[in-house]
């Protein structure tokens, strides 16, 4: 499936696929569909392995859910109600929000140097949000019932209701926005309006996700308006890390494979500057949250003591935030691809841990039900829960590979000409 140019619309793409199927026969067509082309490519590999791992992990999760139901999870009414699956959802939802923030740098705030990554950011925002929704749906008792019960209930007092509303608006706007970019519409009033609306929606969505936790006065480790701000700030960092890593990944982690505008952007100071600033802000937020948690005598904050004793927390702070911060502020390192890739990967690891520890330690201090026990509630995710996380990542990898192949994600307003001589994605 080597398109000489992007398909202009779904009808064109479907026509091309039907032609290909007629020309090649069913078997060859299926083989080409799995490899995304005759030649080996990074996008094709991502798609192939993403689909394979995604199908395997989905089969495992589906089997466990059908045979064991929710008993396949290690969550419990007595201890941790929301486990790994919810933290994976938070991770993907906030990464999606962060990617939209990064896309907004050029598309809303006019920082033109970030145009080369804008379209890729929007595509990644769509697929990470989709992966998050998928994992969340598998965790819910009745995901399909949600589709009618939430609009019918209109429980405007529930932060979760508003989170769903804003993330749905966010997803719809992202899809329309991507459609406009697919048609090379970067600057029309409609396109600009979509960018601004999308930015507003994503601030509200990620902030409201924070308020799902921040509104819980009975859970002091989460309570407070800072949680919404914390989510928005760390979302931006997740997005920055994801786009750095994903961009390099699309070109086989080889700087020289990138098209010119992207290459010069990666080699410039703009990217490390944003990355370092966001890492610094996130580090500051994490440390201040821990400080107030350790200092206060308020009942229910004891989880912070357990948190600072856990190895995962130190991996997050030292390896996932401090080290990338140093890498991105050091003049000798910040513009080198290998250190940018390292920083991106470490920050994503740190943010994954952060979502998990935030969620789990926030529930670890028992309330009255837990008074049977004298310590913190214990929890370790089950294999089914881990496989749900794997499924989420597989969806992102597969869809990223597909998007890279189909949609010319490096497109930007300065390179609108189709089939130009710029290097193709590997």
């Amino acid at each position: 499936m080597n398109f000489f140019a992007e398909p202009r619309n779904f009808a064109e793409a479907a026509r091309y696929l039907i032609d290909l199927w007629r020309r090649e026969g069913t078997l060859q067509f299926l083989r080409l569909s799995l490899t995304l082309g005759r030649e080996k490519s990074v996008a094709g590999e991502m798609w192939k392995y993403g689909v394979a791992i995604g199908l395997l992990s989905f089969a495992f999760v589906a089997f466990m859910l059908l045979t064991e139901g929710g008993a396949a999870f290690n969550t419990s009414s007595d201890g941790i109600n929301w486990g790994l699956a919810v933290s994976v959802y938070i991770f993907f939802a906030l990464t999606s929000s962060g990617l939209t923030f990064i896309a907004s740098l050029s598309m809303v705030f006019g920082f033109r140097e970030y145009y080369p990554i804008a379209k890729r950011c929007i595509w990644l925002a769509i697929i990470t949000l989709g992966a998050g929704f998928t994992v969340l749906a598998l965790e819910l008792g009745h995901p399909f019932r949600m589709l009618w019960a939430m609009p019918a209930g209109m429980q405007y007092l529930s932060p979760m209701f508003w989170m769903a509303v804003f993330y749905l608006i966010d997803l719809v706007l992202l899809l329309i926005k991507f459609d406009r970019l697919w048609h090379d519409d970067w600057h029309s009033p409609l396109s600009h309006f979509l960018s601004v609306a999308s930015f507003v929606a994503v601030v509200l969505a990620s902030g409201m996700l924070g308020l799902v936790f921040g509104s819980m006065v009975m859970r002091p480790m989460w309570f407070g308006s800072f949680t919404a701000v914390y989510f928005i700030l760390t979302a931006a960092l997740s997005g920055a890390a994801a786009i750095v890593l994903a961009t390099y990944m699309a070109y086989g982690f080889r700087h020289e494979n990138m098209p010119e505008p992207l290459r010069s952007m990666a080699a410039g100071k703009a990217l490390p500057k944003v990355f370092a600033t966001l890492t610094g802000i996130a580090l500051f937020s994490v440390v201040t949250r821990i400080w107030t948690g350790l200092w206060s005598n308020l009942d229910g904050l004891e989880g912070f003591h357990a948190l600072v004793r856990s190895p995962a927390f130190h991996v997050e702070v030292w390896v996932g935030l401090t080290l990338p911060f140093v890498l991105m502020v050091a003049p000798a390192l910040q513009r080198q691809p290998r250190w940018q890739i390292t920083a991106g990967a470490l920050v994503l690891l740190g943010m994954f841990i952060d979502r998990y520890t935030f969620l789990v330690t926030g529930q670890a201090v028992p309330m009255f039900k837990g008074a049977w026990a004298s310590g913190l509630a214990e929890y370790a995710p089950s294999l089914t829960e881990w496989m749900m996380a794997v499924l989420g990542f597989a969806i992102v990898f597969a869809c990223y590979g597909l998007g890279e192949k189909l949609f010319h994600l490096a497109g930007n307003p300065r390179h609108e000409v189709r089939g130009s001589a710029e290097p193709k994605a590997a």
Binding site: G141, G153, F161, V217, M367, K369, G370
Partner: protein
């Protein structure tokens, strides 16, 4: 319209768990799914350690955070003060369990606390989560009464199926009054030392209202603003646990 509430006299409660057993039988609960529980906890350290207990049903709050957070309105509060769950609307998101300060909500699909898993031994062939050999006859999924389907949250209903049928304008429902006994919640009926009282909180002549006024009834975690409709009388011998039962580090 009565506003039903409960008073639990901690001076009288012996921690015998008769209420827990009666609730489990009345409502066909799984082991560990104790809508009504008596929480045991310790205070002090050896050699001055004391074991204490605390009976804890759903507080049926006046201002219930579980109702406010439910994204589908599956959890709701009735005019008579019951906090109920519509199992046909519940999506099993467990947000209400997160938001309940008293830990009185239970998710159906979890690892079993007893082995073998009663849900597998008494497997249901229909939408019910299990099919015990004996179960109470009442069932009303719109109000969270009976054996629940899979993938939903359940909780104490204040024995809605009994209380809602009580004669009008009765100030109290008491197991000692033959006219109201069958409408009284199972945990109140079963309490051997009569530590539980059930009545109309809006009626100043009800026994529960007078006890709350005369004996200084308190509400659990009142600072959180949920305003429970379950009051405790602490007197001189009762014990209300501190908010969190774990040691400071």
């Amino acid at each position: 319209m009565p506003k039903w509430g409960m008073v639990i006299d901690l001076e009288k409660c012996t921690g015998c768990q008769a209420c827990t057993a009666a609730c489990a039988m009345e409502n066909s609960r799984l082991p560990g799914e104790s809508w009504q529980d008596v929480i045991l906890f310790t205070e002090g350290e050896y050699p001055s350690v004391q074991i204490k207990w605390f009976p804890r049903p759903c507080m049926q709050c006046e201002n219930p955070s579980c109702v406010h957070v439910c994204p589908t309105r599956a959890t709701y509060k009735t005019d008579q003060g019951f906090v109920l769950i519509d199992w046909d609307r519940c999506i099993g998101c467990k947000y209400c369990m997160i938001a309940c300060p008293y830990g009185v909500r239970f998710y159906t699909d979890e690892k079993p606390l007893a082995a073998p898993d009663p849900r597998k031994v008494f497997k249901s062939e229909d939408e019910h989560s299990w099919n015990p050999p004996w179960k109470a006859p009442q069932e009303d999924w719109k109000r969270g009464v009976g054996i629940q389907p899979r993938g939903v949250v359940s909780k104490c209903t204040f024995c809605y199926h009994r209380v809602s049928k009580a004669p009008k304008d009765v100030p109290d429902l008491s197991e000692h009054d033959p006219k109201t006994r069958e409408y009284t919640p199972a945990c109140v009926v079963a309490c051997p030392p009569t530590a539980r009282y059930f009545g109309d909180l809006d009626n100043p002549d009800s026994e529960v209202s007078m006890m709350i006024a005369n004996k200084n009834g308190i509400r659990l975690l009142d600072q959180l603003g949920n305003k429970p409709q379950v009051y405790y009388l602490t007197g001189s011998g009762g014990a209300v646990p501190s908010n969190r039962a774990i040691k400071k580090t």
